[in-house]
Symmetry: none
Subunit: 429 residues, 2 copies
């Protein structure tokens, strides 16, 4: 059963085992860890299957995986309680018996003797391996990893305890992938955008995508905006794959896309919008203050989430009541009774007041209706946001779609984006 | 294609689609949501498969699922960009063409006309349905859900945008499950706690758990505190299952646990801490204001995330600079130079200042070191939080463990909890 094939590996399937995963109580962080680590070596996960603890379900999933993929990684079901059936399933898959590994058995006995604990008989299971399989030493737990070849596919089977899985990934998978794939450069590019919908972004990039048959773009509408990810659709499973020219292609595509999208792109390096705003404020040595009503502190919370933000964040106000708006921000009662608290005038007063009260270079003022109920006969989602500088105050009206949480979050991020656009366009005036 | 079968449904398979899920960049929260909601109606997920955006991969996963399960739920791939292939895959699976739904097309046109935006031609895809499929109206987005029957299996296909998936689950899956499975009693009890570690909570409940052989407790350490879930270990899959006596057992266990844990329990009904604080403030007709430094607006943001919070939230301040602390809150420069900005005295000044400046019944003041660097030779994680009432101001010192984001979040929630404890103990004085 020696594995003599030395070709690079480009794809893998991951099988995670456990009733608790299917119940939705536990996020599958083991899968996320494995997928990321595989990507570091240019291996794409093409399928992820989760099954419960039953032996038959595990065998079925393993059989389907072996039919499709050359590299399969299995986590979970290697404990010693009766619901741990992965060892038995692997043996059934390969048509071999489970046999005790005497070195392992000794190690387990020593472990318990050292701790002066009687060894539970259940632990003998941890010394069993499918005949012909190799063990991978587990430096943080008792159950070793298992490596075996079945009908031309290579299987790694690891315990589901995250810390053990992480250790075995480094000790078992990483050396294997290094020997097969070498050290690859990062094989993906990402652009993060704000202010344009997924559809509009896709439309802007349509021509680029169609002109490059090997280019594959995914669009991810996330809370942080639309993220665009570039991969090579012709990402080869063949041995003629040249990482260097592939990286050049990715750089070229991502640069062209950034040109087409202009200042909708806020990061090409996986930064958050609030980090980018922070860099720009530091770059131009400017400071900011915020007075926000319907976002209720979220703009301030985003700005201060960045380490070092005390260098540029001067202060925040959440004047949630009309009275507070009038008394602290010099907005006249007449304006509020005439235009309402959700109005251009109030946004302007908040922005200018925040700036004046703190001595900041920029003041952001925001007022709106987060819902669920409309206010002053104005619709849910109506938001006024103002940016006050030493020269002028600009006010914007937005119609934000979504529930209360989404309206608040989108309004807060849009306010940050307003400051970003001002900084990149005007150089910080 | 009418679905005439009326038998209860006990198991389901879930297929989630998206390259981003396989890459490990995005946690599969849609799966978690669906699995939990299905469980509420007694449906167990027996397999979860994730495949990439490729049409062939989707069709293969669908084919295997239809072979095994009667209920299949698919998420993702219903957008309008070229990488959205689920509509086409569903049509291929059923061997039918994609046909336009004219009512949908009209709705999409109206949507864009109302917003005075030119309709991108790509959006026409959202009006296509596999022939014979039924649409499920999407009240928070453009792409409808799809319901279709294929070779005796019922498939639901929903967009992957979480807010849309949640709405379509309620509008599509829940009515279906109610009609098939009836209204099952909720087969789980949950207690949410704040202020005690997972191990301590487990220790407190140890005796209860050991005295009830059928009781199974899980402890979930979450951002919102330690959540405790009660299930019956003997939860039967047989027909002799008696939901009534089972529910009584759950109620008894959860009541006993709540007694043992005392006021560490903030909700028995899956409420958030900030909702509970809101109810208590409304109940006692009290108002609150916040002046927070290291949490940077998060306490205000939590309080205002609750609809109707304008009834009790008077205002928030984020005095991020020593100058602001001095000038707006009457904290003397001597105190700041002697005790530092992170001190009992500053927390007290912030709480009392917030209360006085807004006329609120309660003032919360918070100052601390969120890191990554220590300040004034004080350690990262040191937090002072004060609660000012009409009678007195109490100050608390906490040492919060974690990175910047975690320290800020835990400090903000602990401040909310302080107000909760004051309200339940003193009845709102």
């Amino acid at each position: 059963m020696k594995h003599t094939n030395k070709a690079p590996v480009h794809t893998a399937e991951i099988i995670t085992i456990g009733d608790e995963l299917l119940g939705g109580q536990t996020a599958d962080t083991n899968f996320i860890h494995l997928a990321k680590r595989l990507r570091d070596f240019g291996v794409r996960v093409v399928r992820h299957v989760t099954v419960g603890d039953g032996e038959d379900e595990i065998v079925t999933a393993l059989r389907e995986a072996v039919r499709r993929e050359k590299l399969i990684i299995v986590t979970g079901g290697l404990g010693v309680t009766p619901d741990d059936r992965t060892r038995a399933a692997l043996a059934r898959l390969a048509g071999v018996p489970l046999v005790p590994d005497h070195e392992l058995l000794r190690e387990i006995e020593v472990f318990f003797r050292d701790r002066k604990i009687r060894m539970p008989s259940l632990n003998i299971a941890q010394a069993l391996l499918p005949k012909g399989a190799r063990k991978i030493a587990n430096r943080v737990g008792l159950a070793p990893g298992i490596r075996m070849e079945v009908r031309g596919s290579l299987l790694f089977s690891f315990p589901g305890v995250p810390v053990e899985l992480h250790a075995l990934t480094e000790d078992g998978i990483v050396p294997f992938l290094k020997s097969r794939n070498g050290e690859l450069p990062s094989l993906e590019r990402e652009l993060r955008t704000w202010g344009r919908g997924e559809t509009r972004v896709a439309e802007i990039l349509k021509e680029l995508e169609e002109g490059e048959p090997r280019l594959s773009i995914s669009y991810l509408p996330e809370d942080r905006g639309v993220t665009i990810r570039f991969k090579s659709g012709g990402r080869p499973r063949t041995s003629r794959f040249d990482p260097e020219s592939f990286r050049e292609d990715l750089d070229r595509w991502s640069d062209s896309a950034a040109d087409l999208l202009g200042d909708a792109v806020y990061s090409t390096r996986r930064e958050e919008l609030e980090e980018v705003v922070g860099y720009l404020l530091v770059l131009y040595r400017k400071t900011v203050a915020v007075a926000e009503s319907c976002t209720g502190g979220k703009i301030a919370a985003y700005l201060t989430s960045v380490p070092g933000s005390s260098a540029y964040f001067r202060g925040g106000f959440v004047p949630y009541h009309a009275e507070t708006k009038i008394s602290s921000f010099g907005i006249s009662p007449e304006i509020i009774s005439e235009k309402g608290t959700v109005s251009e005038e109030v946004a302007r007063g908040l922005a200018e007041g925040a700036r004046e009260q703190t001595g900041a270079d920029f003041g952001i003022g925001l007022t709106g209706i987060a819902g669920p109920d409309s206010v002053e006969d104005k619709p849910v989602g109506l938001v006024y946001c103002a940016l006050a500088t030493s020269k002028e105050t600009a006010v914007f009206e937005w119609n934000v779609i979504g529930n209360r949480a989404r309206i608040r979050d989108r309004a807060a991020r849009s306010a940050l984006n307003l400051l970003r656009l001002h900084l990149i366009r005007g150089g910080g005036r």
